[in-house]
C-alpha cells in the first residue's frame, strides 16, 4: 500500500476534499472556512475548488449554523460543520444535544441527521480558562452521537471519511497542537478507518496506557522513558470514544493486568471514568492493581505557561501512575 507523508491538517483537508468530490451532497460550513481558508488553514484551497455553495462562510452564530446544518442534513445533504474551536460549540450545545442527537429517535426514525461537527479541541498552549476545554466528555455522554478523536494523520483522514459517510451525527475532535504533526497516510482513495476500533500504538506486556488525541503522543514518550527503566508498556490509541473498542481494551488487560488512562479533561466523570468502569466490570479478575487516570487537575485552565503545564497531564505524571500500578515506585 503506497503512502504519502502528510501533516495532520493536510490529512483532514484531503478527507474533506475527496468526500466532496465523491459526493455532491457534502459541504463545509463555518466561521472563516472560505475566504480566510480556515482559522487553522484546514480548509485551504477548498473554496477555490468547490465554490461558495459548498464552502460557506457564516456569521458568528454557532447555534445558528449548527441548527442550519441539521436542517440541511434532514434533506439528505451531508454537512461538515467547522467550529473555530470546540470551545465555541458550547453556544450550539442545545442544537447538538436536542436536535442532532435525537432527531432520528424522536421522529420515530423518519429523519436522519448525517452531519459531522469538527474542529480543534482541548488545550492549545496558553489560551486560558475559556478556550481550553476537552469537550469529548460532554458529547460522549449523549446517546445518538458518535465521537472520534484521531491522534495521527492517517487516522484523521480515515476517520473523517468514515464520519462523513456515516448516517449519524459525528463529533470529530482535532487538536491544534497536532495540526503540524506529520505521518504516513495511505494513498488508496477509499481508505477509511472504521468507528469503534482502537489500535495498539505500541506493544508491551507490563502495563497498558489507554489514550487518544494529543495525549497519545505524550503517552508514547512516557512509554519510551519507562522502557529504559525496564517497564514494557503497551499503548492503546482509542481513536473512537463512542463506540468504544471494549474488546481491544480487555485483550490488552488480559496481557498486562494493569492500566492507566491518560487524557485531557477534568477528573469528574467523563470518558476516562467510563473506561475504568468497563475495565473493572469486564476484566475484574484480570486486574492486579486499581486502574488509574491521569487527567487535568480539577480546575479551569490557567493562562500562565508554568501553571498551565501543571494542570495538563505530562509524561512525568503518566510515568508516576504506571509505576504506581506496577508497584515500582
Amino acid at each position: 500500500m503506497s503512502t504519502t507523508t502528510m501533516r495532520y491538517r493536510e490529512a483532514i483537508r484531503s478527507a474533506i476534499d475527496e468526500e466532496m468530490v465523491r459526493d455532491k451532497n457534502v459541504f463545509l460550513m463555518g466561521e472563516e472556512v472560505g475566504h480566510y481558508q480556515g482559522a487553522y488553514k484546514v480548509s485551504e484551497g477548498l473554496l477555490e475548488k468547490f465554490g461558495e455553495n459548498r464552502v460557506i462562510d457564516t456569521p458568528i452564530a454557532e447555534c445558528g449554523f449548527a441548527g442550519i446544518g441539521i436542517g440541511a442534513a434532514m434533506t439528505g445533504l451531508r454537512p461538515v460543520i467547522e467550529f473555530m474551536t470546540w470551545n465555541f460549540s458550547a453556544v450550539a450545545f442545545d442544537q447538538i444535544l436536542n436536535n442532532a442527537a435525537k432527531m432520528r429517535q424522536m421522529s420515530g426514525g423518519q429523519f436522519n441527521v448525517p452531519i459531522v461537527f469538527r474542529g480543534p479541541n482541548a488545550s492549545a498552549r496558553q489560551v486560558g480558562s475559556q478556550h481550553s476545554h476537552a469537550m469529548e466528555h460532554f458529547y460522549a455522554h449523549i446517546p445518538g452521537l458518535k465521537v472520534v478523536a484521531p491522534a495521527t494523520p492517517a487516522d484523521a483522514k480515515g476517520l473523517l471519511k468514515t464520519a462523513i459517510r456515516d448516517n449519524n451525527p459525528v463529533i470529530f475532535l482535532e487538536s491544534e497542537t497536532l495540526y503540524t504533526f506529520k505521518g504516513e497516510v495511505p494513498d488508496e482513495p477509499d481508505y477509511t478507518v472504521p468507528f469503534g476500533k482502537g489500535r495498539v500504538a505500541r506493544e508491551g506486556k507490563d502495563c497498558t496506557i489507554i489514550s487518544w488525541s494529543r495525549l497519545l503522543q505524550v503517552s508514547l514518550q512516557a512509554a519510551e522513558t519507562l522502557a529504559a527503566d525496564g517497564i514494557d508498556v503497551e499503548v492503546i490509541d482509542l481513536r473512537s470514544l463512542r463506540p468504544l473498542d471494549e474488546d481491544l481494551l480487555i485483550a490488552s488487560i488480559e496481557k498486562t493486568h494493569r492500566a492507566v488512562v491518560a487524557y485531557e479533561g477534568w477528573p469528574y466523570g467523563g470518558v476516562g471514568a467510563e473506561i475504568v468502569d468497563r475495565l473493572q466490570r469486564l476484566a475484574f479478575d484480570e486486574l492486579d492493581a486499581p486502574v488509574l487516570r491521569v487527567c487535568n487537575l480539577d480546575v479551569p485552565m490557567p493562562y500562565n505557561a508554568a501553571l498551565e503545564q501543571q494542570v495538563i497531564p505530562q509524561a512525568n505524571r503518566i510515568i508516576d501512575a504506571v509505576r504506581q500500578v506496577s508497584y515500582r515506585q
Binding site: 458568528i60 490557567p302 508554568a306
Partner: protein, 383 residues
C-alpha cells in the same frame, strides 16, 4: 512623535451602501474629520485635552503591547488601534456609579476609569500580581473596584449579563446604568438578540455600544448582516438606536450621555452603533493584509480619531509639536516603568491554581493542592 497633517477626504470605497458607511446622512457627527466643529456641544478645552490624552495613552500602550508580543515577552495582545474615540468617548460619558461590561478591546476605558497601568501590564504578563491571577489570556481582565465586569471570550455572552445586571440594579433602585461593549460580529450572536429583546421589554438601564469596526476577524460587515446598518436591529426590539461617527470622540461622548440620560430617567435602553475601523489586525495572531482590500485601511487612516482631535486642539489651545512630544514622553515613561515591574514579578504561586474554583476550597482540591506541592513538577514551556 507623529506630526499632524491636514485632512484629505479619502476616495469613496465603492458605490454600494455598506453597514459601515460613516459618511451617510444619518450618522451623528459633532466634529468633521478636519477637526472643525459642526455642532458645538459645549465641551470645554480642559475636557477636550483630557479626552485626547486618554486616547493617546490608549494608543501608546497598544503600540508597546504589540511590540512586547512580537518580542516574545507577552503571549498575546488584542488592541484598539483606530477605535480609541469609540471607547474613550463612551467611557468618558459614564458617571461614577455606572458599570462597564467590556468586550475585549476596551483596556483604554479601564485605564480611564482608574485601572492602574501597572495592573494592566501585570495582566498582559499573567504574573503573580495579575488582577485575574494568570488565569485568563492577556487583555481579559476584570476590575470590580472601578465597576468593570470580566472580559468573557465567547462572543456576545457579556451582552445578556449586562442586561441582567442593569435590570437587577433597577429592581433594587440602584441608580446606575450599564454600558456594554461588543463588536459588529457579535450582533449575530444569540445574546445580542436576547439582550436587546429583554432590555426593550423591561426598559432596563442598558447602553448597548456596538463598535462597528468593519471586520470580525476576516469577515467584513456585509457578510455579517444584510441590514443597512447595525443600528437598524434596534427597531425590531423597540430599542431606540443611533449611528454615530465612532472616530469623533465628541459625538460618541454626546450620544452616550444622551443614552445615559434616558436610562436614568427610566426610559430604558439605547443601541449605539459607533462606526469606526480596526486599523490593526484582529489581534497579534492575525495578519489583516491577507484579506483586507487594498487602500481601505489607508482611507481610514485619514479619519484617524487622534489626528482629528489634534487638528481640533491645534486650533483651540495651540496644541503643537512641543505639547505632543511632552505628552507622549510622559506616557512612554509610565509604560516603561510598568513593564519593568511586570517583567520582574514572578509567576503566580502554584497553590493559587486551586483557589477561587469554589467559594470554599473543597477537600478534593485541597488534596490535589497538597499532592502538587509535594510531587514532581511539570516542565513549563518557555521556561
Amino acid at each position: 512623535m507623529t506630526t499632524v497633517s491636514s485632512y484629505q477626504e479619502p476616495e469613496a470605497q465603492g458605490a454600494e451602501r455598506r453597514p459601515d458607511d460613516v459618511m451617510a446622512d444619518d450618522v451623528i457627527r459633532v466634529m468633521a474629520p478636519d477637526g472643525t466643529v459642526i455642532d458645538d456641544i459645549g465641551i470645554d478645552d480642559e475636557t477636550a485635552v483630557a479626552l485626547y490624552q486618554a486616547m493617546l495613552r490608549t494608543r501608546i500602550v497598544d503600540d508597546r503591547a504589540v511590540t512586547l508580543q512580537r518580542q516574545g515577552r507577552i503571549g498575546f495582545h488584542i488592541g484598539s488601534l483606530g477605535e480609541e474615540a469609540s471607547i474613550i468617548g463612551s467611557a468618558f460619558a459614564l458617571r461614577d456609579q455606572d458599570w462597564i461590561f467590556p468586550c475585549y478591546r476596551e483596556f483604554g476605558a479601564a485605564l480611564l476609569r482608574g485601572l492602574s497601568m501597572q495592573t494592566y501590564m501585570d495582566n498582559l504578563y499573567g504574573n503573580a500580581n495579575d488582577i485575574v491571577k494568570g488565569r485568563q489570556m492577556p487583555d481579559h481582565w476584570c476590575d470590580r473596584e472601578h465597576r468593570i465586569a470580566s472580559v468573557s471570550s465567547p462572543i456576545g455572552t457579556q451582552i445578556t449579563n449586562a442586561v441582567g445586571f442593569a435590570w437587577a440594579a433597577a429592581l433594587k433602585n440602584d441608580p446606575l446604568a450599564v454600558l456594554v461593549y461588543f463588536g459588529d460580529g457579535a450582533t449575530s450572536s444569540n445574546e445580542f438578540h436576547n439582550g436587546l429583546n429583554f432590555a426593550g421589554v423591561n426598559a432596563t438601564p442598558t447602553v448597548f455600544l456596538c463598535r462597528n469596526n468593519g471586520w470580525a476577524i476576516s469577515v467584513p460587515t456585509d457578510k455579517q448582516t444584510a441590514s443597512e446598518s447595525f443600528a437598524a436591529k434596534g427597531v425590531a426590539y423597540g430599542v431606540p438606536a443611533v449611528r454615530v461617527d465612532g472616530n469623533d470622540v465628541f459625538a460618541v461622548l454626546k450620544v452616550t450621555r444622551d443614552a445615559l440620560t434616558r436610562a436614568s430617567a427610566g426610559e430604558g435602553p439605547t443601541l449605539i452603533e459607533a462606526i469606526t475601523y480596526r486599523l490593526s489586525g484582529h489581534s497579534t495572531s492575525d495578519d489583516p493584509t491577507r484579506y483586507r482590500p487594498e487602500g481601505e485601511a489607508e482611507a481610514w487612516e485619514q479619519r484617524d480619531p487622534l489626528l482629528r482631535m489634534r487638528r481640533y486642539l491645534a486650533e483651540r489651545v495651540n496644541w503643537g509639536d512641543a505639547e505632543q512630544a511632552s505628552a507622549e514622553q510622559a506616557i512612554h515613561h509610565e509604560v516603561k516603568a510598568a513593564i519593568e515591574v511586570s517583567e520582574n514579578t514572578p509567576k503566580p504561586a502554584l497553590e493559587t491554581l486551586f483557589e477561587g474554583v469554589y467559594a470554599e476550597m473543597p477537600w478534593h482540591l485541597r488534596e490535589q493542592q497538597a499532592e502538587l506541592l509535594a510531587g514532581t513538577r511539570a516542565p513549563g514551556h518557555g521556561e
